[in-house]
């Protein structure tokens, strides 16, 4: 067998190195997937994992610290995601840290991101449940975008109509913008208005400060009180007058005149009644005629 030693060691080396390379590759790929080494488990509940897959990376402060180990539906609207995370970062993830799902670049894989909590809190333990933030779905974004775009379309359409009208119609606004004459007259009107308002202002100041009867009526308390007493005197005066009138009605000298007036009033009333009765009769006749027409 001594003769064979020449090639046996070469063969042995060849096979050993080949196997070693294969096993190393397996080891490194496995390490990439966190199959070896010390890890711990975290869970998080999501409504929607938006395409997260088993084996996707978990990032904490931008560093890949673990992988997604399992994704399971537990109810019709809740998905539990198990995260395998390296033991080294356990002390940095606090209990109020939040998990969210986002994508790695424009076309890349989904990643699960753990945003750091407040440092005052305790760090997580094995099998803890992390709170989750629902990610902004591209679909939701599109929906709201569409809504606002629709609105913009409506608004711009209205605006177009409006500006078209302004340009072409003969309304006041378009005249104001286009017609020079109109704008000139508007200007003079405004100037007039200004002067008149100036006058009015002068008037009101005079009224406030002047000593004329009108200003006194508004401003002077004494004057208004005396006006009030005058008015009450006037009232009592008119009362007396109406009493006098009643007395005059019953006096024989004026009785005739008042009786005549009453009779004329009665006549007017009876005339009105007659007219209304006549009208009713006419209406009923018309109705009958109409009915006949319909029967025919």
């Amino acid at each position: 067998m001594t003769k064979d030693n020449g090639f046996t060691w070469k063969l042995g080396m060849f096979v050993t190195i080949g196997m070693l390379a294969f096993i190393l590759t397996i080891y490194f790929v496995g390490k990439q997937k966190n199959m070896f080494g010390s890890t711990f488990l975290l869970k998080s509940h999501f409504k929607n994992v938006s395409g997260l897959k088993i084996g996707n990376n978990v990032r904490f402060s931008g560093i890949n610290v673990g992988t997604v180990d399992a994704i399971e539906l537990i109810t019709d609207s809740s998905v539990v995601v198990d995260l395998l995370i390296e033991n080294d970062v356990k002390s940095f993830i606090k209990t109020d840290a939040k998990a969210s799902i986002s994508s790695d670049g424009l076309m890349g894989d989904k990643v699960l991101i753990i945003s750091s909590g407040t440092s005052a809190k305790e760090s997580v333990k094995n099998n803890d449940i992390l709170a989750s933030k629902s990610a902004i779905e591209i679909e939701d974004l599109m929906k709201s975008m569409k809504k606002s775009l629709d609105n913009v379309a409506l608004i711009s359409e209205d605006l177009a109509q409006f500006s078209h009208k302004v340009n072409n119609s003969k309304g006041a606004l378009s005249k104001m913008i286009i017609d020079e004459e109109f704008s000139n007259s508007l200007k003079s009107t405004l100037i007039n208005l200004q002067t008149s308002s100036d006058e009015f202002a002068k008037f009101t100041t005079k009224m406030n400060n002047g000593k004329g009867a009108l200003s006194k009526m508004i401003n002077d308390e004494k004057f208004s009180r005396s006006l009030d007493s005058t008015m009450s005197n006037l009232q009592s005066g008119t009362k007396g007058l109406s009493e006098n009138m009643e007395a005059a009605k019953s006096s024989f000298l004026l009785k005739g005149y008042f009786n005549k007036k009453e009779k004329a009033d009665d006549l007017k009333k009876t005339n009105l009644k007659r007219q209304s009765i006549l009208k009713q009769k006419k209406d009923s006749i018309n109705r009958i005629i109409l009915k006949k027409d319909t029967i025919r």
Binding site: L11, G18, T25, V29
Partner: protein
């Protein structure tokens, strides 16, 4: 036409009988260990330089050829991962198998063919040595086990070639390159590709042995055996590759 077809089917039937005979003989006791190790040396170690050079060149060339397209998308950083993936999944197994079909299959075919022609095989039978066990089983087994190892070498050297090719235009160190390669790899990329290399190796050994073992008398047939062994082995490698990829695609 009918005769031509008949000859093809006869060939296929003989190949199937040969294969079943191999499986019957392999379970019988008295394994020719010494001859097996020698064949492993010849098939494995002796093919290594050839495989290493082709693997290196494939890695280098693939990197250089993919770069312009990827840099168009600004995705040059994906180049190591892409080259490693295509090497491990497809290119290294197939190229290695084809190289070995040319080197090993034709070698076995010529060797066994000349033995058959010079009636050495008959002489073996007379001297109470099972020629099938001694010549065929050892060679097929050696090829089946050595080709996967050669493919692993081709993968490794091809990725090294990719590193060299990547560093022609940009600058990345070995650690980062390795990290990029392993980031893109998954078990799905490695295991189906490895399993199919066993079938490649088996078919290389089988076709070489079959063509050599069934060579008709006459020196002319030795060359014919070697030639047809290479052609058939290469064809079968591609067919197996297609089947393997389809099955992998179906399940994963």
């Amino acid at each position: 036409m009918v005769i031509y077809l008949k000859s093809i089917f006869t060939d296929a039937g003989n190949l199937i009988l040969f294969t079943t005979r191999f499986f019957r003989e392999i379970v019988k006791p008295l394994f020719e260990t010494h001859e097996f190790i020698k064949q492993c040396y010849v098939i494995g170690y002796k093919s290594l330089p050839l495989v290493a050079v082709t693997g290196f060149i494939m890695g280098l060339v693939l990197t250089l050829q993919s770069r312009p397209t990827l840099s168009k998308f600004g995705a040059e950083s994906w180049l190591p991962g892409m080259v490693a993936l295509s090497l491990i999944r497809e290119i290294a197994p197939v190229i290695t198998a084809l190289i070995c079909a040319g080197k090993v299959s034709s070698g076995i075919g010529a060797e066994l063919g000349s033995m058959k022609v010079t009636e050495q095989i008959d002489a073996m039978e007379v001297s109470a040595i099972n020629p099938f066990k001694y010549l065929v089983v050892t060679r097929i087994l050696a090829a089946t086990l050595m080709i996967p190892i050669l493919v692993v070498f081709a993968d490794a050297i091809g990725i090294l070639g990719g590193y060299v090719g990547f560093n022609i235009h940009s600058d990345v160190n070995m650690v980062r390159y390795n990290a990029q390669v392993f980031e893109s790899l998954d078990f799905i990329d490695i295991f189906p590709a490895t399993i199919k290399t066993f079938f490649f190796g088996f078919s290389i050994g089988l076709i070489g042995c079959y063509k050599g073992f069934t060579a008709s008398n006459g020196t002319e047939s030795v060359g014919k055996a070697a030639n047809s062994a290479v052609v058939l082995a290469s064809l079968i490698i591609f067919i197996i590759d297609m089947l393997a990829v389809q099955i992998t695609d179906l399940f994963f």
